[in-house]
Symmetry: C2
Subunit: 364 residues, 2 copies
Amino acid sequence: MAQSANAVRLSGTVRVVGAGLLGSSIGLALTSQGVDVVLAGSSPTTLKLAVDLGAGRLARADDDPRVIVVCAPPDVTADVIARELADFPDAVVTDVASVKLEIFNDLVARGVDLTNYIGSHPLAGREKGGAISAQGDLFVGRPWVICRDEETPAWALSLVEDLAADLGAVVIEMGPDEHDAAVALVSHVPQVISSLLAKQLESASDNAISLAGQGVRDTTRIAASAPELWIQILSANAENVVGVLESFRGDLDAMIQALTDVDAAGARTTIMTELAAGNSGVSRLPGKHGSKRTYASITVLVDDKPGQIARLLTEVGELGINLEDMRLEHVEGAQMGLVEFTVLPEVVARAVSELDARGWRVHQ
Amino acid sequence: MAQSANAVRLSGTVRVVGAGLLGSSIGLALTSQGVDVVLAGSSPTTLKLAVDLGAGRLARADDDPRVIVVCAPPDVTADVIARELADFPDAVVTDVASVKLEIFNDLVARGVDLTNYIGSHPLAGREKGGAISAQGDLFVGRPWVICRDEETPAWALSLVEDLAADLGAVVIEMGPDEHDAAVALVSHVPQVISSLLAKQLESASDNAISLAGQGVRDTTRIAASAPELWIQILSANAENVVGVLESFRGDLDAMIQALTDVDAAGARTTIMTELAAGNSGVSRLPGKHGSKRTYASITVLVDDKPGQIARLLTEVGELGINLEDMRLEHVEGAQMGLVEFTVLPEVVARAVSELDARGWRVHQ
C-alpha cells in the first residue's frame, strides 16, 4: 500500500467505537501497520466479525487509548462521543459522521467539555456497508476533513492528523459550518438533483428510454444510492441543502420562464447566461491529482471481445503514454466498444499517429 | 467496420446537403462502401474539405439521387428540405435535425407536398463539429429515429431504413411529437439540469471544491457542452422541455418543503418517496447492448504508471473475463488509481480469486 513506504506515525492504542464499514476499515489499515487497535461497539456480532477479519482486538478493562474514533451511526454519534470523552479523559476523541455542525451543537447543548474532541469527516465510502465490506485502503488518497476549534490543544490535533496520515488520507482543515456548507454543495445537492431527475424517467415510454445516451446516464448514476442512508444525511444538513436547492430553483425558474417564451426580450440572453455559467461551474472541478490543467482525449474503436482492450492498453504502455483517465463505452447493438483516453495535450498527436500506425481505429 | 461484413443496401446516388460533422460522416461511411455520394451545400470551403477527406464528390447537373440527406443547421433545415423536394421530385428526402416537430410544422405551413419527406434523427455527435471531425463509424450502433407518417410510401421508407442500416445505425420509428418529447426527457432536460447544477459551483470556495468526488463530477459532466448549440436545441423543443422541467420543479418544491421542516408530518415520507422514485427511474436505463440485466463490479488498485493498467487488462484477457464496462478513477494526492470493472455477476468470484492469486489488490 502507498503508506507502507512511510513509517507509521501513531503509537499506543487506538480505540474504534462501531465496527461497520468505516470503523472496520480503519481497524484493518492500522492493524496492518502494527498499531494496537481496540474495537468496541453495541453489537457483539459485528464486533466478532470485525475481529475475525483482523480489524483489531476486543476491548479490555486496562486499555489506555490515546486516540478514539467514533464510527457509530449518525443519530447516536453525539451520545457515544460524550460517553467516550467521560470514560477516557486523557484521549483525543474524533468521529467520522458526514455532517458536523449538528453533532457539535448537540454536544455543546449537553455541556460536554469539548477540549479533547475534534470532529472528522473522511470522504470515503462504498455502496455496500458493514464490516464485511471493509477495506484497509478505503481512505487512501481521499480527503479527510478535520474540524478543530481554537481551544483544541496541539497534541490532540496532531494525533488526529497522524491518524489520517497513517490511513493514507489527505487532511483538510475546516470549521463544522464551512464543512457542512461544502458537502451540501458538492455532495448532498447533487444527490438530490440526480434523484429528482431520475424520477422523471420513471414513467417514460420504452421508446424514449431507447434514446438514452451517456449524458442522462452520467447525470442520474448516483440516483441509485440508498434512500435510507440519504434521508439521514439530508435531514442532518437540511438548512445548507435547502439553501443551495433554493439557489438552484431560482436558476430553474429563470430557465423555465425564458423557455416558455423564447422570443421575449432577454429570454435568449438568460438561456445563454445559464448555460455559460454551467460551463464555468464545471470547469472548477479538479482533474487528476487535484490539478486544474486541461486534458485532451482520443477515442479508439475496439472489437468487443476479451483481450482486445488489454492488447490496446499494452501497446499504449509500450508507447510510454500515461493515461490520465479512461472510459470504455459500449456501442449498443454492435459487438464493439469505444475506448476514450484522457491524456496530456502534448501527447495527443504522437498517440494518434503511433496507434494508427499499429492498425487501431483511432480518432482525435 | 461492423457493417463491412454485410452487403451494402443502398444503390444509386446519395446526395448529402451540408458537409459538416454529420454530413461528412455519412459521406465517409457510404463512400467507403462504394456508394456514389454527392456533396452539396452553401459553403464552398467546407465542401472542398469534405471532398478532400473522401466524403464524396461535388454535385453535377445530371445527378439523379434516390436519397437526399439534409444536414444543414437546424434553423435552415426546413428551407433546404423544401428546395430539395422541389428540385428532385423522384428522390426521398430526409434530414438529421435533433428536433423534429418544428421542422415538420414549418413545412406543412408552407404547403409543401411531404409525401417524399421522412424526418430522421441519428443520435450521434461529437463535442467538436465540422467535416474535419467526421468519422465514418459515427453512427455505428447508435439509434436512428425515423419519423414517417401514414402517407409515406413504402419505397421511400425502405430507402431511409437502408441508409441507416448501411451506416450501422439501429432504426427506431417514432412520430415527430413522440420523438421531441422523448429527447426532451432523456437528453435536453438532463442538459439543462446539469448546467444549472454546475452553475451552483461557480462561486464555491476552493475548500468546498476540494471535497468534490465522483458524484458531482458525473452529474455535471455534460454542463461543459457548447451553449451556442444548446440554445438552438432548447429553443426548438422549448414546449416539451418546459413540460419536463415543470414536473421536475414540482418534485424540487416538495423536497425543499420537506427539508425545510423535516419534523413536519409527512416530511420524511416525502424525502424517502422522492429518493426511492429516483432509484426506480434510474433503473429504467438500459445497460450494455440495451439489455436490462444487472451487473456486478470489482475494483482493482493499481500504481499510476504506464503499463500497469495494460498488464492488468492483459491478465483479465488471459483469464477470459469479458468486461461489460470499465472505469479508471484516479486517487487524488497519491500515485495510484482505482480500476472498476463491470462484469457479469457469475464471473465475480472467479475474477476476484484469480486476480488476487496473481497479486493484484482487488476488492469486490
